[in-house]
């Protein structure tokens, strides 16, 4: 299960992930992180059974947590199933099934590579 963390300016310098790992003993994998002087956006892979406790531990520290249940939001009216998103995705979220593009849950890390790669502008990131 993937969790997206939105870290507010006030706490971005605290060792949030380390302290949550120590508290929950969850085997957390950082899949993507972009942190600058004022805020942070981090995507974590967390084992399914630890998801609830990890989410709660981050929220207690003031981090906004969004479980990435939907990989990306797709406008079915715009998608023509061309496949421009398939080979540019770093985590192989998209694949063809009988020549229709399908998106697998649990793979997307919200990097956004597919958003501009889609000629029909049919894709959107969760919460963007």
């Amino acid at each position: 299960m993937k969790l997206m963390l939105h870290v507010a300016p006030g706490i971005v310098r605290q060792p949030l992930i380390a302290s949550v790992i120590l508290e929950t003993s969850a085997l957390v994998n950082i899949e993507r992180a972009s942190i600058d002087a004022v805020s942070g956006e981090i995507v974590l892979e967390v084992p399914a059974e630890k998801c609830a406790v990890v989410k709660e531990a981050f929220e207690r520290r003031g981090v906004k947590v969004v479980p990435l249940e939907i990989p990306v939001i797709r406008d079915e009216n715009e998608c023509v199933h061309c496949g421009a998103c398939v080979s540019i995705c770093p985590t192989q979220t998209f694949r063809f099934e009988d020549w229709r593009v399908v998106a697998d849950e649990g793979k997307c890390i919200q990097c956004g590579a597919c958003i501009m790669g889609c000629p029909q502008r049919a894709l959107k990131l969760v919460l963007k």
């Binding site: 023509v80 061309c82 496949g83 398939v86 080979s87 590579a113 790669g117 000629p119 502008r121």
Partner: protein
């Protein structure tokens, strides 16, 4: 009945049209045909199948529509016109405009273009028309604004100079940066391959010697019945890259098969569905329509080389491309398409049901398509300078073991801003700037330039056009590039100052 096998199987077009009219025509898609021909043989297939429907759906940049506005009062002879701020060509008579699919808008840039105007018109939306007139005795009006829907135009006739490529080169990128092209996003270091074209369903791949397709052939054009006007621009049948020039009434088209698109950092384009039903008149046509993905090959071209003659890395088939992975230089590379095979199937299936329902008749061509075409490179009469013409040969290179203070002294003496760093045999391995040295001195940490030089150094070859050097400087926001020879040895520097001097002299 084995006795039939002795005779060459042939049917006439009027026989087939008769069957279409009475609803007894036997129609298959080009995807179903290969197995049938394998099973029945070409002669058997001629007996059993009347029509093979093909289809393709992809970006067809070379498309546009002639729009007739009708005459205003007072009348205007339009010199320039914009539809939703997308410029349409007005240099044809008074109120005829040609709107090209790839023309970007003046207010929204490439996210909205000619293709989007067409899509909105077809969806029944109203568009803003602005026009500037020439002002003549017979057409006194100078300016005009009006809002129009598709039905308000007298004619909306699509005329596409180059559509339905028989097959298309696949694209990859060997350079070290992501490229945004009309072949989509190409990841660095052969990170992916993009391809286009319907392979087994491609209309021209099913009739490569033009036994049926020619001038006047009735076609499925984005849901309407359109016509082939002849061979398209850059038609190159000698090399298996035939194209069509097509026309059709946009008012009869269907939004499902006409979709506006934008390629990131490239521009707008139009996705179109085109299909051609091919009558199985004889065994040759039966064999041709039995073509499979594995029979149609294309080169994988390296778009990392920004020149017209981009190198081809490998020849692959549509079967290879559609498998999702191909091998390139010993590396497994993920492939995906930019055209939609799903939609190409929809075109072929829709066409099949229209033929079966007696709604789509086949037509004999006035002339076959040209068997010899032309896709020559541009004749360039004004020579553009090479990097060698603008660069400075006065370049000092250093080895990476020298000290920071020595490098600083060289920069001061030579009044350079950049020092290329070379290996023992003179090959470029890095670069150091006056700024790098200042930083090193300020921090007081480093003593050898090997520790502070930039190793990811951009360079240009002496025989490359000056435009490439300018593009590289601009893309990476840098001010100077080492110039290397064929062996990667540094022989000069080219800076933004050199480029502006060269440009000033040219004007």
């Amino acid at each position: 009945m084995p006795t039939f096998e002795k005779f060459v199987q042939e049917k006439s077009l009027s026989e087939i049209n008769e069957r279409i009219r009475d609803g007894s025509a036997r129609v298959v898609t080009a995807e179903e045909m290969p197995d049938l021909v394998d099973e029945l043989g070409p002669a058997g297939a001629v007996r059993e199948v009347d029509v093979v429907t093909t289809g393709t759906f992809g970006a067809m940049c070379s498309s546009g529509v002639f729009l007739n506005l009708g005459h205003s009062d007072p009348p205007i002879k339009i010199a320039k016109a914009w539809l939703n701020k997308v410029e349409a060509y007005g240099g044809v008579a008074a109120v005829d405009l040609f709107l090209g699919a790839t023309q970007p808008s003046e207010d929204r840039g490439i996210e909205y273009g000619g293709a989007h105007v067409m899509e909105e018109l077809l969806a029944g939306k109203q568009i803003e028309v602005e026009a500037q007139g020439v002002g003549t005795d017979c057409y006194p009006q100078m300016e005009l604004e009006t809002n129009l829907r598709l039905e308000d135009f007298n004619q909306a006739t699509m005329v596409n100079p180059r559509n339905a490529y028989q097959r298309y080169n696949a694209a990859t990128n060997s350079s070290d940066r992501t490229m945004h092209t009309y072949m989509g996003t190409l990841l660095p270091r052969l990170g992916n391959v993009h391809y286009s074209g319907a392979g087994v369903l491609s209309p021209l791949s099913n009739d490569p010697s033009f036994d049926y397709i020619g001038i006047g052939t009735r076609i499925f054009l984005a849901g309407a019945q359109g016509y082939d006007m002849g061979s398209g621009t850059q038609h190159n049948p000698q090399n298996g890259f035939s194209t069509l020039m097509v026309t059709g009434d946009m008012k009869r088209m269907n939004n499902t098969f006409l979709r506006a698109a934008t390629f990131h950092k490239y521009g707008p384009s139009l996705y179109l569905g085109i299909g051609i039903p091919i009558p199985v008149l004889n065994e040759k046509i039966a064999k041709n329509t039995a073509v499979r993905d594995r029979d149609i090959t294309v080169p994988v071209v390296d778009y990392g080389i920004p020149r017209r003659d981009r190198p081809s890395l490998k020849l692959v088939s549509y079967e290879d491309l559609k498998s999702g992975i191909i091998d390139l230089s010993g590396k497994e590379v993920s492939t995906s398409s930019l055209s939609s095979f799903h939609m190409a199937r929809e075109v072929a299936r829709e066409l099949k049901s229209q033929v079966e329902a007696g709604e789509f008749l086949l037509s004999s061509a006035v002339e076959p398509l040209a068997r010899i075409g032309s896709s020559r490179p541009m004749k360039q009469t004004k020579e553009s300078p090479n990097v060698g013409d603008g660069m400075s040969r006065d370049v000092v290179t250093v080895r990476d073991e020298i000290r920071v203070d020595e490098a600083a002294r060289l920069i001061v003496i030579g009044s350079f801003d950049h020092l290329p760093v070379v290996s023992k045999d003179g090959r470029l391995i890095g670069i150091i700037t006056a700024w790098d040295i200042s930083k090193a001195v300020a921090s007081g940490k480093s003593s050898r330039i090997a520790e502070i030089m930039t190793r990811r150094v951009y360079s240009v070859r002496v025989d490359e056009p000056i435009e490439l050097a300018a593009r590289t400087l601009d893309t990476h926001s840098i001010s100077a590039l080492p110039v290397v020879d064929r062996d990667d040895k540094v022989i000069g520097m080219i800076t933004s100052d050199h480029l502006s001097r060269l440009l000033a002299r040219r004007r």
